[in-house]
Each structure stands twice: as C-alpha cells, then as structure tokens.
Amino acid sequence: MRGWPSIGRIRWGWFLLATAILLLLPLVTDTLTPTVLLIWALFALSLGMMWGYAGLLSFGHAAYFGLGAYTYAIAVVNIGESTIPLLLAMLVPAAIAAVVGAMMFYGRISDVYMGVITLVVTLILFKFISATAGDAYVIGRARLGGFNGIPGFHTLNVPGYPEISLFGVPTYYVCAAALLICYLICRWILARSFGRMLVGIRENEARCELMGYNVPALKTAIFTVCAAMAGLAGCLFANWAEIVTPRVFSLGQAAEVLIWVIVGGLGTLIGPILGAIALGYVKLLLGEQTLIDNSLILGALLIIVVLGIPRGVVPALQRVWSAGRRRARRRAGDAGVRRTLGTSVRERP
C-alpha cells in the first residue's frame, strides 16, 4: 500500500468558507436536495474516516446507517419527542458495532474476512427487517412493517418542545451542523495520538502491536465511533425521507457509499464528502430519466477508479497540485538565483 496522502491538518480558511457557503445556500436554492446530499456526505465521511485512515474496509457500513434510521423511527414513535431518539440513533449502532468489531478484531480476522462478515451482518439485517410484516413484529407502538417500512413518524423537534418540529430550512441547518461537527471531530481524532496510532495500524499493524499498542481495542474504538456517525446520518436520512424502509440496509446502499468514498479519495476527509455530494447529485439526476440505469454508471465508475486511480480523485488532484507547486517554486528559485548571480542556472540537482 504505497502512496497514501499525508494525514493533513485542518485549514481554517477553507473550513470557514465552507461554513459560509452552507449558511448562505438556502438564500439561493431550495434546500431539499442539498439536505440529502449533506446527509450522504456525512455517511461517506464516517466510512472514509475508518477506511482511509485506519485501513478498515467495512463492506456493510450501510448496516449502521440503517440501524440509525430504524432506531430513530422506532424510538420516536414510542416516545414522541425527538431528543432521546436522536441519541439512541447513535448509541444503538455504536453498541452493535462495538460487539461486531470486538468479535472481528479480537479474533484477528484478516481484511478480506472482515469484508465478508460486515457484508453478512448487513444482509442479515436486510433479510430480517424485510420479513417483519404483520402484527407479530411490533416494538412498543411501532410496527416494523416489513418491506413497506415505517412511515409517518415524528420528525426532529426543538429539544424539549415536541410541538415545534423542524422541516425545510431548519432541517437543512441541522444536517449542515452535523456534517461540520463530525468533520471537526474526525480532524480532532486525527490530530491526537489516537489518530496517529490508527494511521500506524494502517501502515504496519504488526509493528504497532510489537510497540505495545492494543491494536484490537483501537480498531474496535474507531469502528464504534464511525458506526455512531453513520447512525446519525441514518437518523437524519429518516427525517429527510419521513419514512424508513429496508432499502437502507440493501446491498445497493452498501455499494453506493463505498463508491462515493473510493471515488472521492481515500486517506482524506474532504474526498469522501465531495464524492458523496457529486455522485449523490448525479444519482438524483439519473433518477429523473429511465434511459441509463444508475447502477450501470456507478459500476463502471468503480471499476475505472479501482483500475486507474485506486486512491481516488482528491488525492490524485492533490498530487498534481503539489507537484505543480514544487515546479513553480523551483522556477521561482531559479529566477532568484539568476538575479543574484547575474548568470543563468541550467543545472538542477
């Protein structure tokens, strides 16, 4: 595994610019589409953090997205107020991820088998939830509803005021805030020794282990954190769609997020976000016509990226950009030397 981008650090200028754009966007456009794009970006960020930095590829990250969505829907139907369901939508996926992760990582299962197990977990959930039609499957007051899902639940409200629910622009701002906060959390993790250890595991797991780090515990920890983020994304998605169906657990959903992340860029945080926004937008556009199937485009894209730019678009652009800067600096340096010496410098080291 050569050619990973550096860990990077936060660039506050860009961050503030992005915040400003997100703040002002509702003035120029309808927020329905941007809201779901931000949710998908958050979902992709949660996988990109795990895969790009810790080197843990979950083929079934959709499981935690779906668990977040279903947890929120079931809890809010029973409770009626959205604050606790929102927290549960992060805690339940995190708890399940902790169990699954501990089982895999303490068992020292290789990355390929991790892919298989995460995929099978997602399939189990998809099969189970799809089969829950009928009166036998009721949690409290919530009917699971099988393939039709759970419609018409209470959307997010101002904490403590169940009668003031959010929709439209406020929901958009909640999603934007969630994305920005999770981005900051990821950056914070990466700036701390925890993040450095994760990258160390990605680079050379045996060496980290020999240096005395508890590799299974670290892997389980990041798996849990990223599952909580995916759960939050799932919860917001449930709010946006105002219905949850087993589709959130489907193979298609699992493949989609993976493609957003790998196309956007591994080993960066902005790559998965931009990948999800761009490809998510393409998906919405393709959904409006029936000539070309969305999965055709996504499949072709995935093959091309894996064969051609296995680190994704953003790292590739970064490489081009930094190479260009180096060249420019060298040229500027040459000119400076030429000025001081009054001769032309032809030889380069």
């Binding site: 299962i109 290789s110 390929v112 070309i292 093959i303």
Partner: protein, 288 residues
C-alpha cells in the same frame, strides 16, 4: 414417515442448491484467492441466457447445460482479460472491482431485458410422495449437482489439467518453474469458474422468476458457503454446503423460512470467527 422423507429431500435439495450456486465461486476462490463479488450476476446471466434460448425455440436442456455455461464462460474470459488480471494479489481491490462489475452487469441487463421478471416453465413434472406433492425439478437439481461434484472431483484428481491446477493452487512458483505459466492457468480457471456459475444459473432458471437483481439472492449464500468451506474446492464446498443446508432447512421447518436463513447467516459468522481459514483450512488438507 412421509414427512421425514419430505424434510430429508428438502435438506438434500438445499445442500445441492448451495453446492451448485457456489461451485463457480469456489473454483475461483480456491485456485486464485480471488473473491468474485460479481458471481451472483454470472449466475443471473446464465439464467437469462437459458430463457433467451428457450424463447427462441432451442431445447431447454441444451440451453441450460451447454449454451449457458459457454456464454457465461466467455463473459468470464473477457472479464479476466480486461479487469481481473490487473489486480492479482490485491484481494480487496479485486473485491471492489468485481462489485463494480456486478453493478455494471445489473445495469446492462436492466437496459436490455427491462426490470421485469421473466421465467421458463420447469421441464420436469411433480410427483407424489405419500400424502405430499413434490416438485420433480428439485430432484433434477439434486442429480445434476451430484454429477457436477463427481465430475469436478474426478477432473481435479485424475486429469493432467487438474493436477496442474492443484499445483498452481499450492505453489504457483513451483508450477511456473516447471514451465507452466500461472497467468494462463488463472485465465482458464476464471473462465471455468464463470462457466460453472453460468451452468448453475441455467439449471436454476426454471425455479423462480428472474430479475436483473436476482444475483443478490445467490451471492450471500454462495459467499458464506465458499469462505466457510475454505480453500479446498470440492471437500470444502461440500462440507459447508452440508452444514448450512441442514441448519437452514431444519430451522425453516421448525420455525419459519426467514428464521432458517438468518440462522444460516449467523452460523456462518460464528464459524468464520472460530475458523478464519475455513473448515478445510482446519480439518482436510489434501487440496481437492
């Protein structure tokens, strides 16, 4: 007594179904350590080929037993030449690329055949077992699978090609030092695996209506059968097919088909956790 017979036959059928749908994947995984996530779509293509042939007046047995394997084998050859061969040794990247291929094939078939179910009638009529009416076609699938397993075993065990293939699996360096090109062996192996998937798709086509996304129904079961079985192609696939088929059907009869399927998937996770190299990685080591 009749009921026991029904349950026994259903268990046999499930074992046969698992062995049949995972044979192609097992060959590719066992020989090449490549996990082909487009396996389900290869099976689906075999089904569509059979149906297209049948609709054009070709004998259905000829279509499913000859045309489907040949067509899907050719597709496999093209895929190996254009995608897989660049990714040998990069397991995760292979999984990603073949997942892309799976989506691509689904999209293509949707484009050509549309997103509606197509089907062919089963060519074997049902029969009476005591008080129970049984589908005769299930029996046909069991027989085909037994024949297929025997042929695979015989080819691997007694022919020169099988010897080379087993050699390439155990020590690619040695085989290549003896003058056989491992890349060529891999190419043939992948083509053979795809052909087996096509055969499975053809034979299973009359069972259910076929959709472009039908591959997803096979991939999960085939996947866990092969991975749990481990690297040995015949004994691994057979042993895990027997375990999963039995568990699936017994739980299905005791509770509910969905619970049976869930029990099978959960058992797979536990087995993988206990034996990450698969059943044959632990118990059998002779390589067939």
């Amino acid at each position: 007594m009749d009921y026991a017979g029904v349950v026994g036959l259903e268990i046999l059928y499930m074992i046969a179904f698992l062995a049949l749908t995972s044979a192609g994947l097992a060959v590719v995984f066992g020989m090449m350590r490549v996990i082909n996530l487009a396996h389900g779509e290869f099976v689906m293509l075999g089904g569509y080929t059979t149906i297209a042939c049948y609709n054009n007046g070709i004998n259905i047995y000829f279509a499913m037993l000859v045309v489907a394997p040949v067509v899907v084998g050719l597709v496999g050859l093209i895929v190996e030449r254009t995608i897989i061969r660049f990714l040998y040794g990069r397991m995760i990247d292979t999984m990603l690329a073949t997942w892309g291929l799976s989506l691509l094939l689904i999209g293509l078939v949707t484009l050509i055949f549309g997103n509606t179910a197509v089907s062919v009638p089963a060519p074997v009529s049902g029969y009476q077992l005591g008080d129970y009416q049984m589908g005769g076609y299930n029996l046909f699938i069991i027989l085909i699978t037994v024949a297929l397993v025997l042929v695979m075993w015989a080819v691997l065990r007694f022919t020169r090609a099988g010897l080379i293939a087993r050699g390439a699996m155990q020590g690619p360096d040695v085989v290549s030092a003896l003058g056989y090109d491992p890349r060529k062996i891999y190419m043939y192996t992948f083509t053979a695996g795809a052909a087996l998937s096509g055969l499975a798709g053809g034979v299973l086509a009359p069972l259910t209506g076929l959709l472009p996304s039908s591959g997803g129904a096979y991939i999960a079961k085939a996947f866990i059968t092969v991975i749990t079985g481990g690297a040995a192609v015949v004994s691994g696939t057979l042993s895990s097919a027997v375990i999963f088929g039995t568990v699936n059907q017994l739980v299905s009869f005791a509770a509910h088909p969905v619970i049976g399927e869930l029990a099978m998937l959960a058992l797979a996770i536990i087995l993988l956790r206990l034996m990450p190299k698969g059943i044959t990685g632990r118990f059998f080591r002779d390589g067939t």
